[in-house]
Structures are given as C-alpha cells and as structure tokens.
C-alpha cells in the first residue's frame, strides 16, 4: 500500500514543483520566443505522457499487488493495442518535431538586413568588431594578430580599414535590429551565450561559425562562455548592452576604426623616428 502512495506523491510533487517553481526562464529578450513556446508544448505532451505512464504504474501497484490465490493474466501480446500505441506515439513525436524544425529553419536562415558582428574569443576573453560604412567586415587570419592588429585583419583587404574595433568584453547592440554573430576563436572552443537571447553557438578555431537573433528589450545582459574552454571557463564573462537607435548611434560614433588605429600608430612611429634623428 505505502509503495503506491509514495510513488503517487512523487508524481504529484513533480507536477506541483513545476507549477510553483520560482526557478524558471529569464524573460526572453530576443526574437526566439518560439523556442520557449516549443518547450511549453513539449512540457504539455511529454509531461502528459510522464504522468499517464506513472499513474498507470501506480494503479497497477495498488490493484495487482501479490495475492496468493490470484493468478496473473496470460497474454503474450496484443497486436491491436501495440499498433495503436505505436501510431499514437509517432503522432505525438511528429507534433513535437514539426515546430522544432520550423524554428530551426529560421535559426539557420539569417535575415538579409542583419548587421554582422565579429566575435573573437580566446582564453579567456572576448572582443568585437563591427563593419564600417562599407557594411562589410575585412577578412582575417590568426597569424596576423599582434599588438598593432588585434583582430588579425588582412592588411590588403580594403573592407578591413573602416572596421569598428571594440577591444572590450562588452558590446552594444541596437534594439529591434537583427544581428548575425560571426564567431571565431584563436585557441580552443568557446561559446558566446546570453541566456535571455536563448541562442548560442560554439566558436571553433580554424573556422567561422554563426547564429543570429534580434534583441527586443533594452538593457544590460551578461555574456557567458557556454563551451568548456579550460580552467578559466567559468570566469569568461562579457556583457551586452541593448540600446535604442539614438543611443546606439552615439555610442558607435565614439568607437575607433582600424584606420584610426593604424593612423595613430603611424604618428607614434613618426615621432619615434623624429626623436631618433634628433
């Protein structure tokens, strides 16, 4: 008797925990609310199956526990029942898969008007690069990276000169404008993840990976590294500040471009040579 009751309480407790939990999603701050909806749908269908199976089991425990004078039923199979269960399960699974694939289709197809952001990761930090007025990012190479060229931009690539360089682990984004995050890493795997945006993707050394989202809430968010990257993994944080267009434009104006940096270095070098001549 008590066995069935305890199992019943476990099921009931699970349901109550789910209803009253104070631990749940952060408010979604991007266009990926559909992911939350699919999770909710999966909860309804999957949770329903979980409750049904467990309650059936509890019922059996109550109803059919051992009695000396009773004999169990002898019924090796029931083709019809098995067929019904197979098709019902297939249907339920398909109902979950369909929305999942539809959203994935949106996830892998980036809108044309998305602004590209180069997110560069290393052990253990982030920095960002935005395209300049030409709207295109310059190409890069790991071997180019040095103090004068922190992003490793190919110097012969004309698109690189006006790239906006943000040598900080915090980046600003414009509210309601889709961004395509282009991820690269110079050493090991990393993953640029903001829980409120829901989206994530690994940064893999040697290739450029991507994902996109459209922030729809202004405010500051924390960036976490979501792919284990060595002993400093847990400390590899960054930030995002989502701003309205006006504020964002102001912020963008203040940032340095690659040509600014080169010019600045040239001045420094000229001064050095002048000093040497004197």
């Amino acid at each position: 008797m008590h066995v069935g009751i305890i199992f019943f309480l476990v099921i009931l407790g699970s349901v109550l925990f789910h209803i009253f939990t104070p631990w749940y999603w952060t408010d979604v701050a991007s266009n990926w609310g559909g992911m939350d909806d699919t999770i909710t749908l999966t909860f309804w269908i999957g949770g329903g199956v979980f409750i049904a199976v467990c309650l059936f089991m509890v019922y059996c425990v109550f109803k059919f526990s051992y009695k000396k004078d009773r004999k169990a039923e002898y019924k090796p199979e029931d083709k019809k029942l098995e067929k019904i269960l197979t098709w019902a399960t297939t249907l339920g699974v398909a109902a979950l898969l369909a929305p999942g694939l539809i959203i994935w289709n949106q996830y892998v197809n980036v809108p044309k008007n998305a602004i590209e952001i180069d997110v560069m990761a290393w052990q253990w930090g982030w920095q960002y690069r935005l395209p300049g007025e030409d709207g295109k990012l310059g190409t890069t190479k790991v071997v180019n990276i040095n103090d004068n060229n922190p992003f490793g931009i190919n110097l012969d690539d004309p698109f690189g000169n006006d790239d906006v360089m943000i040598q900080s682990d915090v980046i600003n984004l414009e509210n309601n404008r889709p961004v395509k995050i282009l991820l690269r890493s110079v050493d090991v795997l990393h993953n640029w993840y903001v829980p409120q945006f829901r989206a994530k993707m690994d940064a893999v050394p040697g290739i450029v990976t991507y994902y996109w989202f459209e922030p729809n809430k202004t405010g500051e968010f924390e960036v976490l590294c979501a792919e284990y990257c060595g002993v400093g993994h847990y400390a590899m944080r960054g930030g995002v500040e989502v701003q309205d267009k006006q504020d964002y434009d102001n912020w963008l104006q203040e940032q340095e471009t690659f040509s600014d940096l080169i010019a600045k270095q040239k001045i420094l070098e000229d001064e050095k040579t002048k000093l040497a001549k004197k």
Binding site: V3, I6, S14, T21, W23, Y24, W32, M35, I39, T42, F56, M57, F64, S65, Y66, K67, K71, A72, E73, Y74, K75, P76, E77, L81, E82, T86, T89, L97, G100, I103, W104, Y107, V108, W122, V142, V143, V188, L189, N191, Y193, P195, Q196, R198, A199, K200, M201, D202, V204, P205, I207, E222, L224, A226, E227, Y228, G230, V231, H233, Y234, A235
Partner: protein
C-alpha cells in the same frame, strides 16, 4: 546485422517445425528437440588458487571480477561527485577545491561512470555471468580470451588511476576530451594526464573487444538445444545487441584517442588548426576540432545504448519474474532492442547541434533522434502493460523496477526536449543537460543494476540479501536521486551553464544558491546510502537466509543449474534442453504459476500455453 536476422528466422522456422513436426498432439513427439550440432565444450579446470580465482577462465568468476573492479572504480567516481557537489553547494568550504581540481574531478567522474563503471558492469559483469547460464552453455566460447579481457580492463583502470599521481594530475578536459583544449596548457593535465587517459581508453577498448567477441559468438554459436534466438531472455538480447554496438562504436573512440595522442606527442595536426597561444602561433595548422567531436560522438551516442540496452533487457526480465506475468509483447521488445541499436548509429550529431558543424545537419539528426523515441516508448508501454493484471510481488527487486520506470520515463522525455534541435539551443550546455543524462543514463541504469543485484545475488551467493536493508537502500536512493535531478532541470531553464566552477553573482543565478545547497545535501545522502548495499552483502554472506533452488520461481535457465551457486561448467553431466521461451508465467491450467524453459510439453499437457 542483417545476417543475424536471417539466421534467427531460419532457426525459428526450423525449431517450430521440429516442435510441431509430430503433429499438434501432445506426447513424446512434441518433446522432440533437434540434436546438438557440435560436441560438448572442453573446459580448462583450474586447480590452484591462482587459476581458480585470479587468472580464472570461468565466465562466472570473471563476471564477478568485472563487477567488483567496476564497483571499485564506481565508488571513486562517487567520491569525486561528492567533492564536486561540495564545491557547487558550498563554494570555498574546502580549501583544496581549486578550479583545476574541480575540472579534473568533473572529467574523471564522467569518464569513470560512463565507461569504467556502467559499461564494464553491464557487459563485463552481467554479460559474463548471465550469458552462458541463460543460453545454456558451459562457459564462454573463448575462456582464455575472456580472462585476458578482464586483465586488460584491470590494467586500463590502473593506468587511469595512475594519472592521479603524475605531474599535472589527471586530465581536466571534461569527459568529452575535446581538442584543442584537452592538449593545450590552460587545461589541467594537458601533458601526462590526457596521455594516460588515451592509453587507458585504448587498453579498455582492446580488452573489451576480446570480451565482446566472446559474448557475440557464445550467443550465436553456443546456445543449447532448443534455445532459439526468439526464446532467449531479453537480458541476453539486450547484452547481445549492446555488444554489437560496442564492436562498431568503440573503434571510433580508439582512433580518436590515438589521433589525439599523436597530436599531443608527435605534433601532428589531425584536430589542431592554427592556434595563437600567449601571443605565439603554435606549430599546428589545418586540423579540425569538429572531426574529433564526430569521432567521439559516433562512439558516444551508441555508448548511451551500450549501457541502456542491457538495462532494458534486464529490467524486462525482473519485471516479468516478479509480476508473475510474461513480458508483454516479447517480439516487439526484441525488435525494439534491435531497432534502437541500429538507429543509435544515426543520431550522434544531436550532441553537436551548437558545435559549429554545418547547421543543416540539424534537420536530419533531429528527425532520426525523435524517431528513436518511438521504439523506446514502446518498451516503456510494454513494461507497464506487463504489470497490468499481473500478480506483483512488491519486494526490493520490484521496487527498483518501479523506480527505473519513473526515472527512465522522466529522463526519456527530457531527451525529447534536447533532441528537438531548436529546443536544444537554449538548453544545451546548461544544467538541463546534466539533469537529463544523469536521470536517464545514471540513475535509471543504476536502478536496474541494483534490482539485478538483489535479484541474482541468491544465484551467485546462494543467500537472499536482507529485504529490510534493501528497502532502506531503495527509498533513500530513489527519493534522494529524484530530488537531486528533478529540480536540477530548472537550473538549466534559468540558463545556468554546466562546467562552471563558480557562478559569482550573475544576476539571474542568485536564486539558484539555495537549490544548489539542497542538491548537494541530497547527493551526500544518496552516495552514503550506497554503502548500505555493501554492508548488506557482507552481512548476507555471513548470516543471510539460504536461497535454495530457483528461489524466485523463475522460468529462465540460469536458475535451473544442478547446483546453486552453479559450478564451473554450469550444467553437470548433461546440458539442458529447452522447450519454450523464458516467460511462461501464470499459464492457464498449469499447477504452478511458472513453467521452466526445460519443462517438456508432455509434462504440461493440459495447459493453454502459447507456442514459442
């Protein structure tokens, strides 16, 4: 694989012909079983202590050896998990818990539990003990190879544990061992630690292949007269199919470990692209880190089923015996095991949705992953339908079975979240994943192991384990483990990432502090509760209630040996002859509520038994 199916069909056809060959009437003709095709196996009988108990060729002793060594490493894994929970629940309490140590413990805990505990225990432990007994063989077909298999495992464990004592300590690269990080400074144990890990895995795979060949060939070639494939207990089906998977999956791990060792030691670049480290470009270039992930998960996903399929098989038998009812839909269960096994090779990249592989793969792998849910669900339905109108003994064994159903269904359903590609995006690399795979691949198989221990201990040792201690053990483990992993899913919803040594004060995570303390306390209790079993075993060996012959009144062959516990050679002078499947419980018209597999039809003439 397809050859097995054909083989199985013809044998089935032949045998049913043989049984019904003398007409449908009941009599001596109905008892006819095809004669044996090969002579009885000659066995090497050990005489000294060393050949009997150490370098032993008896599959039963080897099974126990595997079981004990796997349990020993499992206890180390358990202690490591305590240390991890200590840090997560009460950060800063233990001064020796640096981030380096934390990541080393995470890595060793994961690898030990998955490979050296669960795999070795299910296949090496239960496989060795049960396969020959359940199919009616005298031993494994290659006893010497079987012995070498265990000792390779022993050396693999020794090498693995040796890594705790080398400079730099064991590898801290996470159990997935992803390069480039695994072999670069910045990860603990990136020199000797990862090298020993790779060597240990290579030894494990080599040893396991020797054992695996034994299991496969014993099942295919050494079954006794009348034991058709479709009469085998599901335990054997589960272990057999899992071994086929292991034979195909472990080579991927082997080459992955080998190639990474070459990258590490000789400076090749299989997995290493151009890398900038501390301002310097390393002498690597052109390799692909994602290639390793493909190799790893091509092993890693079937590995999940290498653990799950034997568990499925064993639980089916336990439920059937203790519900006094045939397993519902036996044929469906067999095909589900085989189908899940085949499908498990087409789903591996669902571990890699956000790995940076071509995202278009996501469509394919999400679809295959959710398809695998169908045969898995059918198995669950059949387990609970076996309980329906059964005559359920609510003993300790059955409690573990019920606990398994709850945890497995729970973990299976969270698997549908994670398999469904776009739902996986927010949840991957969070505590939701940790909770999911511990529920479905940690706790659920553990429930099966425990159920199996309480079930077969009377066979191995001839005495019953104490029921009262067993019930304490069960309730503490089940309720404790459930309250660890059920709430943990919700940490994942918040977005708490896995493999974080410390969360600092991330704004949305502060609410998780209380839960982390609770989970850690529960983990300490559940871990400690496992020692009840050890106490129970020691106590039982001394003063336990003698079990006698076939104490659970089971149908399957392992309980029908002339002596209990079975001796070397299992069957005395004559091999058993099998007349039916392993599930003739509560047959209408029969005197008792079970008919053993060796009972000829003429002895149960007036029963309405199904032809099998």
């Amino acid at each position: 694989m397809s050859e097995d199916f054909n083989d199985n069909k013809t044998i089935q056809a032949q045998s049913s012909e043989a049984i019904s060959g003398g007409g449908s009437g009941v009599g001596a003709d109905a008892d006819y079983v095809r004669p044996a095709e090969v002579a009885d196996q000659d066995l090497y009988h050990g005489h000294s202590f060393i050949t009997k108990w150490i370098f032993c060729q008896d599959a039963k002793v080897i099974g126990v050896q595997y079981f004990l060594l796997a349990t020993f490493t499992g206890i180390i894994g358990l202690i490591l998990s305590w240390l991890m929970r200590l840090q997560l629940g009460f950060p800063g309490l233990a001064p020796f818990m640096t981030a380096e140590h934390y990541y080393q413990f995470v890595t060793m805990h994961g690898m030990i539990m998955v490979v050296y505990f669960l795999t070795a225990l299910f296949l090496g432990g239960f496989g060795n003990y049960l396969i020959p007994l359940m199919v009616g063989a005298r031993d494994m077909v290659f006893p010497y190879l079987n012995m070498v298999s265990f000792w390779s495992f022993f050396v693999a464990v020794a090498v693995l544990l040796a890594s705790f004592f080398v400079p730099g300590g064991p590898t801290g690269s996470g159990w997935t061992l992803y390069p480039p990080q695994a072999i670069l400074e910045g990860t603990p144990g990136s020199g000797y630690g990862i090298m020993l890990m790779c060597i240990s895995l290579i030894l494990f795979v080599a040893g396991f292949t020797m054992g695996g060949l034994n299991y496969l060939i014993t099942v295919l070639q050494a079954r006794t007269r009348g034991m058709t494939l479709m009469r085998m207990p599901l335990t054997v089906w589960g272990i057999f199919t899992a071994t086929v998977l292991a034979m195909l999956a472990f080579p991927a791990l082997l080459v992955g470990a080998l190639m990474m060792s070459l990258d590490n030691v000789l400076g090749t670049s299989f997995f290493m692209p151009t890398i900038l480290k501390a301002g310097e470009v390393l002498e690597y270039g052109g390799g692909s880190p994602i290639l390793f992930q493909h190799l790893f998960w091509f092993f890693g996903h079937p590995e999940v089923y290498i653990v799950a399929l034997p568990a499925f098989g064993i639980i089916s038998d336990l439920i059937s015996v203790h519900a006094r009812k045939n397993i519902f839909g036996y044929r469906m269960m067999v095909w589900a095991i085989v189908g899940i096994g085949a499908l498990s090779f087409f789903v591996w990249a669902h571990h890699m949705y956000v790995s940076g592989m071509n995202p278009w793969f996501g469509f394919f792998f999400a679809t295959t992953t959710l398809i695998i849910a169908v045969p898995t669900a059918m198995k669950v339905y059949n387990w609970i339908l076996t309980l329906w109108r059964g005559n359920i003994r609510l003993n300790t064994v059955m409690l573990w079975c019920l606990g398994f159903i709850v945890t497995f269904v729970n973990g299976g359903i969270t698997g549908i979240f994670l398999g469904n590609v776009s739902v996986d995006v927010p949840l991957s690399d969070t505590y939701f994943v940790i909770a999911h795979f511990h529920m479905v691949m940690g706790i659920a198989p553990l429930m099966v192991i425990m159920g199996a221990v309480y079930h077969w201990f009377p066979l191995v040792a001839g005495r019953f384990l104490d029921e009262k201690l067993g019930k304490w053990h069960f309730w503490l483990t089940f309720l404790g483990a459930y309250s660890i992993y059920f709430p943990m899913h919700y940490l994942g919803f918040i977005g708490v990432p896995r493999r974080y040594f410390e969360m600092y004060d991330s704004p949305y995570v502060t609410s998780a502090v209380g839960m982390n303390e609770f989970i850690s306390l529960a983990a300490f209790i559940v871990g400690a509760a496992q020692f009840i079993l050890i106490y129970n075993i020691i106590k039982t060996l001394k003063v336990g209630k003698p079990a006698g012959h076939n104490p659970w009144q089971a149908c399957s062959l392992e309980w029908l040996t002339p002596t209990v516990p079975p001796e070397h050679g299992n069957w005395g002078d004559r091999l058993p002859t099998v007349h039916r499947w392993a599930y003739d419980y509560s047959v209408p018209g029969a005197k008792e509520d079970f008919i053993t597999q060796t009972t000829p039809p003429s002895e149960v003439a007036n029963t309405e038994v199904e032809k099998t």
